[in-house]
């Protein structure tokens, strides 16, 4: 019954529905990339510098004759995988720290928040670049670096939620009925702080996809994984001769990030309706 309400609220936002459709296409593309393009996207399957629709190549080929359409399909896997895993890692770090800070307050909060502030002071893209460069690009190091720069907002959000909820009367009530800290954190507070966290993390997936593509653009992607950002970055130098090499992968990033943002807004509408309740005497 609640899920029906959720759907109705979500579907009221047309953009969110469009976002979901685009995302579905991207996910399908990523999932079935090895079936649609069994060859590795690195394979030089055709003549280099073919334009779109030339010699049976849908979106053209790049400077070494690698198929761009295949790269986009396989790149979807990389982007989504990195986007999702890094968000998951950031969530774990952010929510844990934020929850601890918000729940226990006092010096725990103080220490954790100074720590968070430090990470917020450091320009996050620069930090990602430095981390990935130093720990050598691999899917693992990229995920970790993105997570390391992404958790602070989640921690702040979780902290704010926990602080607010902690002083909420139903949590106080749980304390007065003798519930343990774990019960209070996991059964009373966490479920109630979930919806803003879900909304933020859906947006964070988008940011992570962008971050990954930016890293790859700079040549800091996993050298063994074809990603969209890599494709744009590698084609940058020949943009005067071959616009398609950077155009299509860029478009893929744009659509994916757009879709994730639209979904985030839809979730926001559905999960955090602005309750204009005036509890007044």
């Amino acid at each position: 019954m609640q899920s029906m309400n959720f759907w109705r609220a979500y579907a009221r936002n047309k953009g969110a529905v469009i976002g979901l459709l685009i995302m579905a296409v991207v996910v399908v593309l990523g999932l079935f990339a090895p079936l649609i393009y069994p060859e590795s996207p690195w394979d030089m399957v055709n003549a280099p510098f073919l334009g779109p629709m030339e010699e049976g190549s849908l979106l053209g080929t790049d400077t070494l004759g690698r198929d761009i359409a295949s790269g986009i399909a396989h790149g979807a896997r990389v982007s989504l995988l990195i986007g999702l895993t890094s968000t998951a890692v950031a969530l774990v770090i952010g929510v844990t720290l934020g929850a601890l800070a918000g729940f226990f307050g006092g010096w725990v909060d103080d220490t954790l928040m100074r720590f968070t502030e430090l990470f917020q002071t450091i320009p996050n893209f620069v930090l990602t670049v430095v981390l990935v460069a130093i720990f050598t690009p691999s899917q693992g190091s990229i995920v970790l670096a993105i997570a390391i720069v992404s958790w602070p907002p989640l921690a702040r959000l979780a902290r704010a939620e926990f602080m607010a909820l902690r002083s909420r009367e139903f949590v106080q009530a749980a304390i007065t009925t003798g519930q343990s800290n774990a019960t209070i954190i996991f059964r009373e507070i966490l479920p109630n702080s979930l919806s803003p966290l879900i909304v933020s993390s859906s947006l964070m997936v988008a940011t992570a996809v962008l971050l990954e593509s930016s890293l790859s653009f700079l040549g800091l992607g996993d050298p063994n994984a074809m990603s969209w950002g890599y494709m744009v970055g590698a084609a940058r130098t020949v943009i005067r001769q071959a616009w398609w090499m950077s155009f299509f992968p860029g478009l893929a990033i744009l659509l994916t990030v757009l879709a994730l943002n639209l979904i985030g807004e839809g979730l926001n509408d559905a999960l955090n309706p602005r309750v204009a309740r005036k509890g007044k005497a």
């Binding site: 590795s40 690195w42 070494l64 063994n224």
Partner: protein, 505 residues
């Protein structure tokens, strides 16, 4: 062209900005290009690497190949007005260079004595014959340094004179605005009357590759060299009406690039595997699509411009079937995923082109069932890993300095397997026959016999494939059509430019 006439200013790109202009103390490319106009060596070399006079007017080599006598120009003056004499040459070759210049140190260590019978004669006596000795006297290998400024103080690196370099060359140091330009002016007291023609040379610092291309196109600078222009921009600039393009002038450095293979690690320790590697690469494709046509497929360990190159060697062309057959023969059968072997490739951290190469190698080897994993590092990590032999495969290139004994043998002889030392025999290739051939060739005075020895070693190496040679690399030089006589010798842009002149319009 019309008659050479005095006058004119030339703007040359310099990139990166050299740390210092004292050519004895630093031999980076940019230092050479600028310093080559200020300092001079005893000799220079033409495009066939035949010695030409520079500070030495003439020279003779004793028939036993042990005594080299140089006769110096007589009316040469340092830029500060002091006369140039054999004392400077003795100081440079016995004290200064052995202290600060590793390549020169190795060369002059071969001398039993270096003496000056008079002010204008210098005699080098070798311990044993070394015919390549004559190839070690150009301005970067052995720049002559003013003894009167350096002899008093042995802390050469901190000598105040380093800031205002004093040489004998056709151009004098005038001004250096760090981060912007280096200004050289005509040396009016140059010992060749009427030369040089140009009044000024500005070396402009343009850190950004795209800006450099633009500056050339728009005529704001007149010359670029080495890596100033990215390979992908070359085709476009070649068609610019205001520019001349050449890849000449690098005969002396004559770089060869290769895939460096760690001969210690299985399966790379098997000759057949290395040959299979050669058969799986389309090196013409590498030249055309990755280096955008710059370079030549290398057929030998020795660059075709370097002395003693052997043209008649077996050639490797892409042949997947042959490669697979070799692997089969080794017993490397494809597993369920079609993989016969797995190796790591340490990507050379020198920019995108090398990255592309790594990607290409990965795909090419996959076609024969070798799975390559790419690894990235920084320069420090790369140097450390390669020099400590902690790699399977990487890319590399070296300069050959015009001579197999000076620039080639160091890569292959087993005496140069030195852990922790870069540009040594880092792949650990060891073949007593090769060692012996290189050793006897180096001291063989008879050019015909020498060629025979070098041809034989090339044949063995090509069969052994200690490294997978890729290209005889070429660097693009663009020069404005306004300037004449620019690239005339085998040291190209490092020349003194004494005879460069500008066409008046």
């Amino acid at each position: 062209a019309d008659q050479p006439a005095r006058g004119g200013t030339m703007n040359i790109i310099v990139q990166p900005e050299p740390p210092i202009l004292q050519l004895g103390l630093n031999q980076q490319g940019p230092t050479q290009t600028v310093g080559g106009k200020i300092y001079q060596g005893l000799l220079t070399y033409d495009k066939q690497l035949k010695p030409l006079p520079s500070l030495a007017e003439s020279w003779d080599i004793s028939p036993d190949g042990l005594t080299y006598t140089f006769h110096l120009h007589k009316n040469v003056k340092w830029h500060d007005g002091q006369p140039f004499t054999s004392r400077d040459v003795i100081f440079t070759t016995t004290k200064f260079l052995p202290e600060v210049h590793s390549r020169a140190r190795a060369n002059f260590a071969r001398c039993e004595s270096i003496t000056a019978p008079d002010d204008y004669t210098v005699v080098f006596k070798l311990k044993e014959p070394f015919p390549s000795f004559i190839n070690a006297f150009e301005v970067a290998s052995a720049p002559i340094i003013p003894a009167h400024l350096y002899d008093a103080n042995t802390d050469y690196k901190n000598n105040p004179a380093n800031a205002t370099p004093i040489g004998t060359g056709p151009f004098k140091f005038k001004e250096w605005v760090k981060g912007s330009y280096i200004h050289l002016v005509r040396n009016d007291d140059y010992y060749k009357p009427g030369l040089p023609y140009l009044d000024d040379i500005y070396f402009r610092v343009i850190p950004d590759a795209a800006s450099r291309a633009l500056a050339l196109e728009s005529g704001q600078v007149d010359q670029s060299q080495y890596n100033d222009i990215e390979p992908f921009d070359v085709a476009r600039l070649k068609s610019q009406p205001n520019l001349n393009f050449t890849t000449d002038g690098y005969e002396f450095v004559a770089p060869v690039s290769w895939l460096e293979l760690n001969n210690r690690n299985a399966p790379l320790n098997d000759k057949r595997f290395r040959q299979a590697l050669m058969y799986s690469l389309d090196r013409q494709f590498i030249r055309d699509k990755i280096w955008f046509g710059l370079g030549q497929v290398a057929t030998s360990p020795i660059n075709s411009h370097t002395n003693n190159f052997e043209p008649n060697l077996p050639k490797y062309t892409k042949d997947v079937a042959k490669a697979k057959a070799l692997l089969d023969e080794m017993g490397l059968k494809p597993d369920a995923n079609g993989v016969r072997a797995r190796i790591r490739f340490l990507v050379m951290p020198y920019g995108e082109t090398w990255q592309r190469l790594a990607e290409y190698v990965k795909v090419s080897l996959k076609q024969v069932g070798v799975e390559v994993t790419l690894e990235n590092t920084d320069v420090a990590g790369w140097v450390q890993k390669v020099s400590n032999w902690d790699y399977d495969m990487t890319a590399n290139f070296t300069y050959q300095y015009g001579d197999a004994a000076l620039g080639v043998s160091r890569t292959y002889v087993s005496s140069n397997i030195r852990q922790g030392v870069m540009f040594s025999n880092t792949m650990g290739y060891s073949n007593p026959k090769v060692d012996e051939l290189f050793a006897s060739a180096a001291k063989e005075n008879d050019p015909v016999k020498r060629q025979a020895l070098y041809s034989e070693v090339q044949r063995i190496l090509v069969d052994d494939v200690p490294v997978a040679w890729l290209l005889e690399m070429q660097f693009p030089t663009f020069v404005s059509k306004k300037f004449n006589n620019v690239i005339t010798t085998g040291i190209g842009v490092n020349e003194s430019y004494e005879s460069v002149y500008m066409t008046k319009r």
